[in-house]
């Protein structure tokens, strides 16, 4: 199995992604929307995120998707691209986009599963396009790492506590 490609985020694509995520919060009447890569790293978030531990949520979401993906493999399914968790006050809709990133929508009684599914579908298509373009850009020669210049001293300085 081939390794996944290095994930890089540039300002231009980030702004496009943030726009989609902001729009989805409004369109789906959601509390929070966030995007995580499959390795558990948060890419973008929108909505009522201030009191939310998005880092932990991102890691758990990725773990969840990974576990579901493992189940799919055992059942000879490609993937289970959608998950829905129903709570008493809040619900979570999780959608795998382009088998690369995960779109999470947290919503309450002000919205409905039907509306969320509808809006997620549209947003997924847009996100898929953005991420495909982004991955192409990362593959282009000349997309150098900014860390080529790191010195041993820089690294040592990190640990001088």
């Amino acid at each position: 199995m081939a390794r996944d490609q290095q994930m890089v985020m540039y300002e231009e694509e980030f702004n496009q992604i943030q726009f989609v995520v902001d729009k989805l919060v409004k369109d789906a009447n959601a509390k929070v929307v966030f995007i995580v890569d499959k390795n558990g790293q948060l890419i973008a978030a929108s909505g009522d995120v201030e009191n939310l531990d998005t880092t932990s949520l991102a890691s758990l979401t990725a773990g969840n998707i990974a576990a579901t993906g493992g189940m799919a493999k055992l059942l000879r399914e490609d993937e289970f691209a959608t998950q829905f968790h129903e709570g008493t006050k809040q619900n979570v809709h999780i959608q795998l986009v382009g088998n690369r990133v995960i779109l999470v929508v947290i919503f309450d009684a002000r919205s409905s599963l039907g509306l969320v599914r509808l809006r997620v579908k549209k947003a997924s298509e847009e996100l898929n396009r953005i991420f495909e373009a982004l991955l192409k850009k990362v593959q282009e020669p000349g997309a150098d790492t900014p860390f080529a210049e790191i010195s041993d001293e820089d690294i040592d300085n990190l640990f001088n506590d």
Partner: protein, 197 residues
């Protein structure tokens, strides 16, 4: 693999603690969590059974500071050590940037150490990685116990390629930060090469 975010000026790296059941992977993370400044750490999340055996993973996000204007964020994961949780272990290795192999120094765990190391190699290769090409360090844990093997002996069995290795007593913190720093340094050095691990 690492995630470079130019917008947030962040670099995110994933480090996985691997090793046989009850070798002290979770204890390493707990010690790091207890001794890290609150501003530099997130929550320690443990998906464990009622008897505190790791069921899926432990997770601890750390901010190590800034490097060349980028925040260096490390996400530490442990795997469940028990043999039958192999499917979960494979999942956690996805996107790994660096590995810490925590060995249990007790004589009676020799076989378990060897088996776990073999399992690490196999599971990494299934994901397209080779252990010998990854940033990788070894910790010989539980050095405070009476029935431990010599480090030289453990090294011969578990570290034939001579990667950085450390003696540890994770319960009291001996060697815990040395191990973390060593693997983090290797990950950042790899990043400099542009490998992105």
């Amino acid at each position: 693999m690492s995630f470079i975010n130019y917008m947030a000026r962040e670099i995110n790296c994933k480090i996985v603690y691997y090793g046989p059941g009850l070798c002290g992977k979770t204890t390493n993370l707990q010690y790091i969590y207890e001794r890290t400044n609150p501003s530099a750490k997130g929550k320690l999340i443990s998906l464990a059974t009622e008897t505190e055996r790791t069921l899926f993973f432990d997770f601890l996000p750390l901010n190590l500071g800034e490097i060349r204007g980028f925040k260096a964020r490390f996400q530490l994961y442990t795997v469940p050590g028990q043999v039958f949780y192999d499917a979960s272990r494979k999942l956690i290795l996805k996107g790994v940037d660096g590995v810490v192999f925590v060995a249990d120094s007790q004589y009676e765990r020799t076989e378990a150490n060897i088996e776990s190391l073999e399992n690490l190699r196999t599971n990494l290769s299934e994901q397209g990685y080779q252990l010998d090409k990854l940033p990788y360090v070894v910790q010989y844990n539980k050095r405070d116990l009476p029935n431990v093997a010599d480090v030289a002996e453990l090294r011969e069995l578990l570290n034939p390629t001579n990667v950085p290795d450390f003696e540890g007593v994770a319960r009291t913190g001996v060697g815990v930060f040395d191990t973390l720093k060593a693997v983090a340094k290797l990950v950042l050095t790899e990043l400099r090469k542009g490998g992105g691990a």
